[in-house]
Amino acid sequence: MSDWSVFWLAVQRDLRAWRKPFLISSAVIVIGVTALMTFISLVQDEDEPTVYTIGLVGETSPSLPADMEDLFGPDAEAIFVSLPTVAAAEEALTDGGIGVAVVGADTMMVGPTTSDWLADTTYLALVGEITAERAEELGLSAAEVARLADPGVRVNVVAEVEQDGEANEAVATIALIVMFMAILAYGQWIGYAVVEEKANRVVELLLGAVRPHHLMAAKVVSIGALGLTQVGLLGAVVLTFGLATDRIDVPAVAGWAVFWVLVWFILGYALYGCMYAAGGSLASNTQEAGSTFGPLSLILGVGYMGGLISLSATTDSPVLRIFSFIPLWAPLTMPARIVRGWAEWWEVGLSLALMVAATYGLIRFAGRVYVGGVSRATSRLGWREAWRSSRDVVAS
C-alpha cells in the first residue's frame, strides 16, 4: 500500500469527520447571509429618490419648478410649497421644514440644513431663468440663446480614469476580510483536529500506519478543501442574491485582482494551516489549545490590520511596503498593494518568491514540531521542546 493511498484515506476520514460541522456552519452562513442581505435591501430602498422641499415666496418664475425638476434628475424629487412672507421662509429654513427658498425672480435663501448640492442646483436654475428672461429682452434668437447656454467649455483628461479601480478595491477589501476570517477559522479547525487526535491518544495508533507529515498534511488539505468550498459558497450566495434582486452591483472585477488574491490566499492558508497544526500538537487538550493558537492569531491579526490600512490609505507607506515582503503578513498586505497599483512587478515577484520559500520552510518546521508534539502525550509542550522531541521519532 503506497504512502499516497494512506494519505488519501486520512484525507477522506477527516472530510467525513468534519462533514457535520461543515454542513451546519454552511447552512448558518447561507441562511445568515441571505437574511442579512434581505434586511439590508429592505432598509436601503435605493429606488426611492431623495425628496427636497422648496419654499416659494412672492412672484417666482412660472417655469422654475419644471426647470428644477429637470436639473434634479431621477435621484431627487422636488416638492414646492408657497410661503406668505420672507420671515415665514426664514423660520421654515431654520427648523428644517424646507431645504431652500426662492424669493421672487432673483433671490434664493439657504439655511443651516441646506445641502451644497441643493444650493448649487437651485442657484443654477435661477441663473437659467434670469438668463432666458434677459436674452428675450435683448431680442436674441433661439440659436443665440442656445449658444449662450452652452459656452462650450472643454474638459481635457490628463490621466485616464481606471474604471475598474473602485471595483477592484472593493473586491480586495472583501477578499481581505474573508481571507483573514477563513485562515483564522479553518486554521483553528485544523489545530483542534490535531489536539483531538492527540488528546484521544488515537494518534499513537495512527502513527503505526501513517507517516506524521502525511497525517498533518491530510488535515490541512481536507479542512482547506472544506474552507475553500465554504468561501465559494459564500461568494455564490452573495452573487446570486445580487443578480436576482438587482439590488447589489456586481463589480466589473479585473481577473488579475481575483487571481492575485487567490494565489496569496492559498499560500497563506497553507502556511498558517500547518502552523496551527503544529500549535495544536503542543497542547494536550482543547483547553490548552487556545493559548497555543493565541500568538498565531495575533500575528495573523497584525497582517490583517496592515491590509486594511493599505486599502484605506491614500498613499503607499514604507511600513506597509515592508509588511508586504514578510511572508507571515504578505498574504494579507501584498494583494491590497497590488490592487492599489502601488506594487512594482519586481516587488510582487520578490514577495512571491519569499512567500513560497517561507511556506516551504515553515511547513517543514511545522511538520517537525507536529511530529515531536503528537508523539509526546505529556502536558503542554513548548515549540523548542517539540522540535527537539521530533528527533526521537523514527516513524517520520
Binding site: 500500500m1 494512506v6 476520514r13 467525513r16 469527520a17 494518534v203 495508533l205 502525550a377
Partner: protein, 297 residues
C-alpha cells in the same frame, strides 16, 4: 522474528533503556514484565518508530522496520486511542484500510470480529457510547483485524473484569496459534503465568530474567508445601517438622517453605503424623515471586 538488540535510550538524566535485548518468534506468546518505569513501553514504542533508540537496533526478520513493514504489525498502546465520536464500524474499517485492506475486506473482517466478540448490535454505536470493556474489545479488534504478523499490546488486561480478561486471553492465544508473534506487557502476573510459556522481566531498562516460565520457577531454590488442613487447631504442631518452615497461615490453609533437596515422601509422612490434611501440594514459587526476586532492589 522481532529482535530488539542492545537498545539504549536516555531522556536527559533518566535511563529508559539500558542495553535491552529481546526476541520473539512467530507463534510465540511472550509476557513482557517489569515494574513501572522499567522501560517496557519505551521498548514497545521503539518497534513502531515512536521512539528512536540512542543505540541498538530493532529488526524484523533481520531487516530494519520500514513504514510498509510497520503496517503489517498490530499495536494496542498503553493509553487507549479511538475516535470517541466515530461509529465503531466506520472506525474499524478505517484502521483496516490504513493497514492495507480493501473497503470490502475491511467491512467483512470487522463484522466477523464484532460478531465473535458479541458486539454485533453495537456496530453503529459511537465509541464513547460503549462501556469500558467494550471499548477495550474494539481497541483489540483495531490492532488485529488486518491479520498482523506481530501483535504488540501494552497492558491489554488493565481494567477488564474476569470474564473480559478470559475472552482477551483466549483471543491472544488464538492469534499465537495462528502463527502471530504476540508480545504483551502486564502487571497481572497470574494471567501471564496462565497464558505465556515465555516471559522477559526487565528492570531499569535491562533484562533481568528471561526464559520459559516453568524453567524460571524451577530454577528457584525455594519450594512450597501447601496444605489444606482437616482441623485448623493443629497448626502449631507443624512447627517441629524438619527442613520445613511455616511461612503463611490463613484459616485451614498453611504454607511451608521447604528445601528443594528435601525428601518429599519423608516430608509428607512427617506432616501426616502431626496433622490431618485434605490437600497436599508441593510446588516451586509462583511467577509473581520469581518476579519480585528478580526486580528486588
Amino acid at each position: 522474528m522481532l529482535e530488539l538488540r542492545g537498545l539504549h535510550k536516555h531522556y536527559r538524566d533518566v535511563t529508559a533503556l539500558d542495553g535491552l535485548d529481546l526476541s520473539i518468534a512467530p507463534g510465540q506468546m511472550l509476557g513482557f514484565l517489569g515494574p513501572n518505569g522499567a522501560g517496557k513501553t519505551t521498548a514497545m514504542r521503539s518497534v513502531f518508530g515512536l521512539v528512536r533508540p540512542d543505540a541498538g537496533t530493532v529488526v524484523w526478520s533481520g531487516d530494519p522496520i520500514t513504514a510498509a513493514v510497520r503496517r503489517r504489525f498490530g499495536y494496542m498502546p498503553e493509553e487507549r486511542g479511538l475516535y470517541p465520536k466515530m461509529r465503531v464500524h466506520d472506525q474499524l474499517v478505517y484502521f483496516g484500510r490504513l493497514h492495507g485492506l480493501t473497503a470490502a475486506e475491511a467491512g467483512r473482517v470487522v463484522e466477523q470480529w464484532l460478531g465473535e466478540l458479541g458486539l454485533e448490535d453495537r456496530t453503529n454505536a459511537k465509541v464513547d457510547e460503549l462501556s469500558h470493556g467494550n471499548q477495550q474489545r474494539v481497541q483489540l479488534v483495531a490492532a488485529m483485524l488486518h491479520s498482523p504478523e506481530l501483535l504488540v499490546l501494552d497492558e491489554p488486561f488493565v481494567g477488564l473484569d474476569p470474564i473480559a480478561s478470559a475472552t482477551m486471553a483466549q483471543l491472544l492465544q488464538d492469534q499465537a496459534e495462528r502463527g502471530v508473534a504476540v508480545l504483551f506487557s502486564s502487571h497481572q502476573l497470574d494471567v501471564v503465568e496462565d497464558l505465556c510459556e515465555d516471559v522477559v522481566i526487565v528492570d531499569q531498562g535491562r533484562v533481568v530474567l528471561a526464559g520459559r516460565v516453568s524453567e524460571l520457577r524451577a530454577a528457584s531454590a525455594r519450594r512450597y508445601l501447601d496444605l489444606v488442613l482437616a482441623d485448623a487447631t493443629v497448626v502449631p504442631t507443624l512447627e517441629g517438622i524438619p527442613s520445613a518452615q511455616v511461612v503463611d497461615i490463613r484459616g485451614d490453609r498453611v504454607r511451608l517453605a521447604v528445601d528443594e533437596r528435601a525428601d518429599l515422601v519423608a516430608l509428607a509422612a512427617a506432616v501426616a503424623t502431626v496433622a490431618d490434611f485434605t490437600q497436599f501440594t508441593y510446588q516451586p514459587p509462583a511467577l509473581s515471586e520469581v518476579f519480585r526476586e528478580a526486580v528486588a532492589p
